[in-house]
Structures are given as C-alpha cells and as structure tokens.
Amino acid sequence: MEKGLFGFIWKYSARQQIFILMVTVLTYPVVYFLLELPKLIVNDAVQGDNFPRNVFGFDFDQIPYLVLLCFTFLGLVVVSNGLKFYLNIYKGRLGERMLRRLRFELFQRVLRFRLPHFRKVSSGEIIPMITSEVEDVGGYIGEAFALPAYQGGMLIVQLGFIFMQDPLLGLAAVSSYPIQGYVIPMLQKKVILLSRKRVKNVRVIADKVGESITGVAEIHANDAAAWHSADISDRLYENFKIRYEIFNRKFLIKFLNNFMNQLTPFFFYLIGGYLVIQGNLSIGALLAVIAAYKDLAGPWKLLLSFYQMTADVSVKYQTVVENFDPPDIYDTERLTADGEVKLDGDVKFDRVSFSGGAAGQEVMDISLTVPAGSSSAIVGPDGSGRSEVLQLAAGLVSASSGKVLIGDHDLDKLTDSTLGREIAYVGGAVHVWTGTIRDNLYYGLRHRPLVPPERSAEENKKYKRRVNEANQTRNPVYDLAAEWNDFAAAGVNNDAELDEKALELLETVRLDNDIYRLGLQSRFDPSMNDAFAEKILNVRKSLAGRIANEPKLSGLVELWNRDSFNASASLAENLFFAVPSDPEITMDQVPDLKEVKTFLSETGFDQKLQQIGLKIAETMLELFANVSGDSGLLGAYSFINQDELPEFERIVRIAKSGQQRPGLTDADRSRLTGLAFKLVPARHRLGVMTDDLRDEVIEARKRFLESVVKRGDSFVAFDPDVYLPPLTIEDNLLFGRARVDRRDARRRIDNVIRTIVEETGLRHPIIYAGFGYHVGVSGSRLSAGQRRRIALVRGLLKNAKITILDDIATGLTEDDKTLRSALRQVLSEKTFLYGTSNAEIAAEFDQRFVLDQGRITDKG
C-alpha cells in the first residue's frame, strides 16, 4: 500500500487531478476579465469620450457600449460561477471515490491479516481508523494539486507585477517569505508530531470505551467503575494536553504569519515613501504596489493554510496506513480467487511446527495422518496445542515449518474459496452474526452471488451505476441482492429443501424445540405464505371448538368476541377491538395517533378515559405513596413507575383543583388516556369498569371498525377468520387471552396449543417461521448453548469433505453423548476431526491423537 498520501493520490487520480488543474487554469482568464471589466465600465463606458467604440468590427455608441459591457460582465459572472460549481462537484466526487477506495482497501486488508495478528490489534482501534480518521482525506484530495497550482500562480503573477513596478519593492514584498518559509515548517513539524500523538491517544480511548462496553458486566461485578472512570479520565486529560499544545502552536504560527504579513507594508511605506520623496518612484506606482500587495495576502494565506492541512492530512494518512501493512499479510488473491480445488484424500501433518506467540499455543514437530472418511479425536487439555492443530488442519493458521496437506494439496497454497468450502470448522468460541437465525444457518453457503436477481429497466439502471462506481473505486461488484445460497453445496435444489435440511440438522443437535418456541413468539407476513396462514386459522378454529366443548378449558381462556367484553385484555384492545398494524407502536404512543384522537373525541371517550386514567393515577398515588421506590413493588404492580410518580402527582393535583389555568396540557391528557388503555379489568380490580361502561365500549367497537379500521391501514381488527400480522403466531393460534384470574391458565392453554399444533402438522412451518427470529447483536438474544448449536448446524450444513469441531458437545451427559454419536452418523462418509480434552470421550472415535505440550504423546 502507498506509504505516503501523495503517492496514493497520484497513483489513483493522476488523470482527474490534471483535469482539475486544466479547468482551474481555464477559470483564470475568466476571473481576470471579471476583475478588469468593472474598471473598463467605469473608466471607459461611463467616464470616457470619443464614442463610438469599435468592438469586433461593430461600432457602439456610449449607451449600447455600456449595455454591452454590463452584459458581458453578467455573462462572465455566470460562466465563472458555473465553472466553480462544476469544479466543486467534480472535486467532491473525486474525493468521495478516493475515500471509498481507501476505506475498502483498508477493510480488505483487515480481512487479509493472518489470525495471530488479531492478538495485537483490537477492533476498538481499527474501527476509528477506517471510519473517522481517514474522513479528512476525502475532502483534501480534490484540492491536493489544484489549490497550490492555482493560488501559487496567482501569487507569482501578483509578485511579477510588483517586481515590474520596482525590483526593490518586490524584494521588500518577498522579504518575509524566507523567514516564514523557514520558521513555519519548523513549528509545523512539532504540530505534526503532536497530531500523531493525539490520533494514537484517541484510538486508545476508543479501544478502552469499546472494551468497557464488552466487559460491562465485569465492571459492575467487580465494582471497577471507579478504576475505569479514572483510566478514561486520565486519557481524556492526556488528550486535552496534546490538543492544548497543538492550539498553542497553531495559533503561534497564525500569529507569526499575520505579523510578518503586516510587517511588509511597514517596509513599503518606509522604502516606497523614501523613493517617492526622492523622486525615484511615482506616487501612483506606490499605491498600485500597495494594492497589489493586498491581493498577495489572499493567496499567501490560502497557501499557508493549505500547507498546514497537507501536513495534517498526510500525518493522518500515514498513521492509519502503517497499521495495515503487516509483513505477513495474505495476498488479495486468497480472498478473491474463485478457483475451487477438491480436497479428497487424507489429512496429513508433515513435521509441522507452529507458534501462536505465547506459551501453550505451540505445536512442535507433529506428524500425523487422518485417513479420508474416518473420524478422529484430537485429545489434549487447553494449552496442549489441540486447538492449534485443529486450526492448522482447517487452514486458518499457517505452519511455521513443515506442511499440512490434504491429499496432495498444501493448505498454505490454497485460497479461501477452497478452504472455506471444502472444510467446515467450528471452534470453541463461535460467532453468531447480527441477523436472523436463517441468515446464520445459511452463512456457510454464501460464498459468492450465484443467481442474479431480476431487475426492471429502472432498477437495472441504478444497478449499472452501482457497478460503475464500484469499478471506479476498485470495490467488488458482488451483487448483494443476488441469490447467494449455494444449494448444490448443501445437496439441495431450492429454498424449501434447504429449510428442510436445516431442520433435520437442528433436530440432530436438538435445537428444534427452542426454535419452535421462538417461532411461536414471532410474527410473520401472511402474504408470503397463504397456506401457512390458512393452517393457523384452522388450528384456531379447532382450538375454539375444543375450548367450547371442554368445560375445563373454557374456564381458562376468554376468546375475542365482538359482542362481549374481554376482562383479561386491556381496555384499549377492548375498545378498539383491533391492534395497531405496526407492532412497534406501544400503548403509550397509541393515544397520540391521529385517528385514535379523532375517534376518542367523536365518541366522547376521551373524557371518560381521562376520568378513568385520573382515577387509576389517584389510586396508584394513594397506594404507593408510602412505598419506597427500591422495594420493587412499584415497578411490578403499579401502572406508574418510580420516575413517573412526581409527574402524575402534578397531573392529579391540577385535575383535582379544577382550575382552568394552568390546566392539563395535551400531553398530560394523553398520559391519562394511556394509563386507562393499560387497564386489564380482571387483573387490576380498581372498580372503574362499570357494566354501563362495558356496554359502551362494546358499542364503540363498531364505530371504530367503521371509522378507523376500514378507512386506513393503521389498525387491524380482531376477526376470527383473518390472520392478524401484528400479533405473534401464538396469539393468532389462540385468538383470545388466557384468563388472568385462573391459576396457571397460560401454561395449561399452551400445552393444549402445543398438542393441536403437533396433531395438525403445523410444527415445522412454525419452526420455519422461527428461522426469521432476529438473534440480536452478535446473537445476544440467544443463550450460549443455542449459539454454539447454531454454529454447529451452520458447519454441518456446508456438507464439507472435512469437518473439524473443537470443544463442541464435550459433556459426559447422555444428551451430549447422543449428540456426538448423531454427529458421527451425519458425518459418517466424511473426514471428521474432533477436539476434546476428555480421553473417555475420545474413546468413542476411530482414532485418537493425544497431545501434550504441543507434542503427540500417544496414538491409537
């Protein structure tokens, strides 16, 4: 990678830079005429005589001449600004493209780092380098050549003018330049060093903040917040000190500059004045020189600030790039090559040594052969070199001496396109990607875009532009919208079969029940799969039938019924008999929806709900007034939490006093309404739901249906014959509420649902719906065990010739034992390497290699 900024700029944008320079030069005469014309207009057209004037062979009288000049002026204004506009856009675009190229190059280099290199660098440091630190480079690139050329040209022209008037004055004008040219870079050098220091310090801060976030549980568990605070605070102080130093020097440079610039006129007045008095110089010439000198100040200042910016940006560039050039970086080829070599044959270690850079991460002179199609255990405690041997076999790390071969192929000479497809590796520390379960399961099949998507002409145009931009910036042109799943590799033909295969493997690792539960809790879009929605509705019907027929069940649920009040559901659900189409809308936001507001005021429910809300608030205040906030009673039972208490106290006080002013604000009213909406009469027996009110609520439903639900798409009505997308699959199955006033109603009804689901064969579709479950940031919404199993299925789904598992299912429980034998079953035709620290488990395998301190101590 280019070590210096200018090398990088010139290599990738020389043509564009020359073009910018040429257009800039083109603007030069335009600007010159633009400055000359006003003088001509005043001196020649307005004050001149001896008309007409001859312009390009035409004669002009005074007025037409004035008009001609003025319109020429206008034309030049348009041309000069147009050129400037064009140039700015062009520079901006060039800068953005170069920035994109640089950032991508940096990211690709991160992917090319060898694994052991990541022991030395942290994401907290790398991220700001790729994102914020190079940001300034983009803005600079467009100016890199044009600005010094243009402003330098201006400076030389102006200087030439002064020298032509009087060489002595010319010398006076440039007298300060040598001093400035010497002193300023010297000071700037110090600033550069400081900026480097600052950049590195900020990186450390970013890294420490990142680490604190990852380890936040540790911080609390060890009461180490003070230590971390002190640490960060110290770093911030360091940052302040550096920054302060930089300011001091930067402004010193500015001060010197300004001083020097204003010192020069001092010489003009002294020397020029002397010359004029002596009669060696005309007063007009002196004034012209002083005016020209004033024009000098502009370009000179710009050049200096450009110089400072260059220094700053170069430092940033170097400070970033030097981190991305480790000597042992992989070739780009390793990532981008498409060739795939078939890895048939035995896995062979030929006198392999490896050192991970720390004790317990070494492998010393190991030779072993795992016959193709057999299952072998690599046994050894942590630190015995077991994990390293397995990583070597997966081609993830390279041997420092010796060779790892599969068949005749040296793994070190192969690219990711072979290693990542022919070998499946699941290590002890798995990573689950932020996304859905499906994304994670099929992750191992997404090597390259396979089937391009169909695009309309319009989309195609957009796509072409994207590809063109990618080509211009040497970014990859892989199409994200294409079909990436490699069905053939998994041994299936289409999405549906792939899902089936994944489910089969999930059953093998016994994750199917977990995903079934996630599926019940997930939402799905019925337009994607009519048949599934239809089946759910059938289950809903048969469930309703069973509930009606079995008195034991009917006491457990209250189904949605348009003509009766559901005491186990909230007042809002009862009133609307519908749910917001957007499941993200919370109960607190509902009162503020426009259509809800209109509906409430039209039906007069706004007043009633506010009264109910007020009553609830009063009761809550009364009940919880003497309860301390940390007892936990308030949060668990009250509608109001500790923080909101004072707010509601105020609202109740105002409402009680009956004063018109200040009165309740709209927001207050919404809060009261929101409170009323959350009331579940059977749970919160506050006595606010009278029979009359129930009837009114049921009556109002119809109106809501007519005036809101049918007219817009913001609400979906409860309808026994319709699938409701905003509700979870489970709620759609039940279509009612488990009664809150019956013990264990929820659990008992869940069991009934489960049996019916099993009977009707809906379990698999629900599991497929569970594939769409979002696993949270890095799988944080899954348990550690679930994450490991998902990674395991991901590895198995690749159907690779060699499967390597390290520290997976290494328990002595029956569960793990069955899982291991199921794994051997699934991988029976393949080469299977299994890492464990337990000799007893290893005995289950065809072959064993026992490792101790990096050496093989036993084979069997």
Partner: protein, 152 residues
C-alpha cells in the same frame, strides 16, 4: 368484586386485624385474584410453596397424605388465610388444598408479601403477634394433651 370489597374481606382475616386500610388496599392490589371451581387443587402437599391464599368466598378441604391415601383433616372457610407458613419459612406444603365448592381466592406471592413486610414494619408486628398467639395456644394445647396423656 373490586378492591374495596376485597379490603372488607381482608379486614375480617384475624392476621390483618390491626392493619390500616390503605395498606390492606395495597395488599389486595398486589395480590392476584383467582377463581377455583369445585374439586380444583389450590396446592399439593410436598410441593414448594410460593404463595399464600386468602379465601374470599367458598371453602376448601385440607387433605394430608396417609398410607391409605389422602385424608381430609379440616376445612378452611371464608376470610381465612392458608399457606402463610410456606411464605414465611421455606418449608414444603404440609397439606393439600382442594376447593370444596366454587371459590374466590386472593393469592399473595411470597416475594410480594415479604416486600410488604419489609416496607411496613407494623404489618410485620401484627403478623408476629398473631403467630405468637397461635404458638401460645398450640403450646397450651400441647401441654394439655401431655397432661391428659400422662393422667390417663
């Protein structure tokens, strides 16, 4: 039924005799109101007890396991609290409760009841007094029984 009626019922429970109304309302509010139909089990002997039952309406049979099967030893009726031992000390349920007719019950969970005791020491005092009285009576009964046994 509303909180008010529940408070009325609670007031009749001896354990809550001296406790002022707002606190009873709070107790009622944080309890769960559940219905049981005849023959339904409230709890089973030997399982872990995580709540106490305050009977608002109806009555329940108290059964204990014997070698011959479950045997009814007592009946608890309206306005009594049962299962409170389980929420004060961690012992398994000492008997089974089966609804003798349709019941209306307030269920107080162990955690909430303990929080309430912590929050309002006067309730603790009242609970202590009632339990002490009960203990005193039990002791006297025991002494009487022993005297009766030795006299016979």
């Amino acid at each position: 039924m509303t909180l008010e009626t529940e408070v009325e019922a609670l007031r009749k429970v001896p354990l809550f005799h001296g406790i002022d109304e707002t606190k009873l309302r709070l107790l009622a509010f944080i309890s769960e109101r559940t219905e049981y139909t005849t023959g339904e089990r409230l709890c089973s002997q030997g399982e872990e007890g995580d709540c106490a039952f305050i009977i608002l309406a109806g009555s329940a049979d108290v059964l204990v396991d014997t070698p011959e099967g479950e045997k009814k030893v007592a009946q608890v009726a309206e306005n009594s609290i049962v299962g409170e031992i389980a929420i004060l000390c961690d012992v398994p349920r000492t008997a089974t409760l089966v609804a003798a007719n349709d019941m209306d019950v307030l269920t107080v969970s162990k955690d909430d009841f303990l929080k309430l005791l912590k929050e309002f020491p006067d309730i603790s005092l009242e609970v202590m007094r009632t339990l002490a009285l009960r203990l005193e009576r039990t002791t006297r009964d025991l002494a009487d029984a022993r005297r009766g046994a030795s006299g016979a």
